[in-house]
Symmetry: C2
Amino acid sequence: MTNIRDLAQMAGVSVTTVSRVLNQHPYVSEEKRKAVLEAIKVSNYHKNINAVHLSKGKTQLMGVVIPFSDHSYFAMLLKGIAKQALEHNYKLVLFQTEYIESKEMEALQMLKQKQIDSLIICSRSCDISIIEEHLQFGPIVLCEDNPRSKISSTFVNHYKIFSDALDYLYQKGHRQIGYCIGRRSGTNSQNRELAYQHFHKKYRLPYNSDYIIDQCLYFEDGERVITRIKEMDTPPSALLVTSDQVAAGIVISCQNQQLSIPDDIAIIGFDNEPIAKMLNITTIEIPLVEMGGNLFQQALNRALTNREISVKLIERGTV
Amino acid sequence: MTNIRDLAQMAGVSVTTVSRVLNQHPYVSEEKRKAVLEAIKVSNYHKNINAVHLSKGKTQLMGVVIPFSDHSYFAMLLKGIAKQALEHNYKLVLFQTEYIESKEMEALQMLKQKQIDSLIICSRSCDISIIEEHLQFGPIVLCEDNPRSKISSTFVNHYKIFSDALDYLYQKGHRQIGYCIGRRSGTNSQNRELAYQHFHKKYRLPYNSDYIIDQCLYFEDGERVITRIKEMDTPPSALLVTSDQVAAGIVISCQNQQLSIPDDIAIIGFDNEPIAKMLNITTIEIPLVEMGGNLFQQALNRALTNREISVKLIERGTV
DNA sequence: TTGTAAGCGTTATCAC
DNA sequence: GTGATAACGCTTACAA
């Protein structure tokens, strides 16, 4: 492997001059530039980027933490991040954590060790205080509403969205409303649960924890939801489903099992994915790709910013 | 940022000893080890991994090229790769190319520049000769059947699979068979097209290029397929659909448009995703996660291996 | 416009 | 067991 010193020797110049040519800096005579370029060509030279990284203390690598790479919500966030990354000449290092805390720690570890310049955590498992401790090693951004934290974030107000959606269903006459969620433990999930509790208090409705169905991540989970609902003595008349994929699975399951939508059960999905349009599912549009782009921008800066993204109810045929 | 030299000074030992402790090498007295460990603790020291990379000439980073991160086929391959990566203490650098050649070139560039140790290309855009040229910089593996090439690969025999599936449909009485595909230009796609042509020759069936429908990637593309088929004077009686997602979209579309499956049109999907089971779709099971794992293994070695993975027809209700 | 030389933070070789 | 010291390949003051 030929290096910058070999090049300097071949071209009969100093390493500085070679470096200048390599990084298109000014103040190099055309003559020497050509000599260097020639040397590069004949030697089939390529920069060792690790040396650059060590020297500069930067890697142009950004870490992205997601629990599952085959889940549409995260895939869309990732799409937005990847697009911005490309434009800004950053590469992405992917951490697929499956919500295992130790895998998330590995990402933080890499930030500490300077292998990545900054970190986007799309869904967090480990404690917020641990994240904060790592802030000294580089920008970290989250995709959740964490007031009074020192961490930048892009988020939607899940409390408000859930409240509004529940109100909407209430206006439509629903009194027994359940919801489906991926996991119950995240910040976003907890905000939703809070909204759910407050809703029941506000309208003095009986609170039924059976109506909260978790582990709803993929299309096929919709089947389980319907099976479970059919077993209930007093099933909910409406369901908030925090993923259009799952909502779609529910709709299909209902077809298979002769349940009528929205008469037997009303459905509101989330995200407004194409599948929701196709199946005519009422949903709450969340601009995930845009959010991904915003997360990237925040990770690029050191500034502390918390940006709320607004959403839109798309009324279709499942309510 | 404290470094290994500071540590040596603090602990009153040499950098070598510190390095030994850091890398758990033998031949360090318990006494000095403790001193070093103590220094590490009080100084909040962390290795600069870039220096390690430079020194070792390796990064423990593996590149993965996929066209779309929100496509289930690639998401599953990625899942398998990520799992192995974790076990072998490798991190993944993701290149989302959208089939744009220049983005694939960036991945090759990083291999050249030693920022990644090896590269897995799940779906290739650029010429095979370009890949071969880059083989000198590190292992590159492909996910396609490229006989007589010097490139390692894990693949399924798309020619044979397609031939068998077409024969199967022929036995079931179908004479007008079409197929849906993502793009027509990849090696895998061309093998399938070849099988399709040979099938028609073998049974002396009229060949109708309208029966090949491309750009079929996502669930929602199923709708377009059905729209198109309904416009045909002599529509196919069966469809090979190279993705269960699209097959599922087709099945739903048929429901919406009062087409009966398999009477009006028979469907065979690919991959055996959960959605196929749920919608009772006959499909060809491809162990994508396992293939991903195998790709990783090959990328880890320098040996040239070409491994064919076998598949299985899962008979359900759409044929 | 050009070059010298001092980093960047490790690992590896070799002598003691 | 231990420690100098030379790589690794690049960037960047600073000097000329």
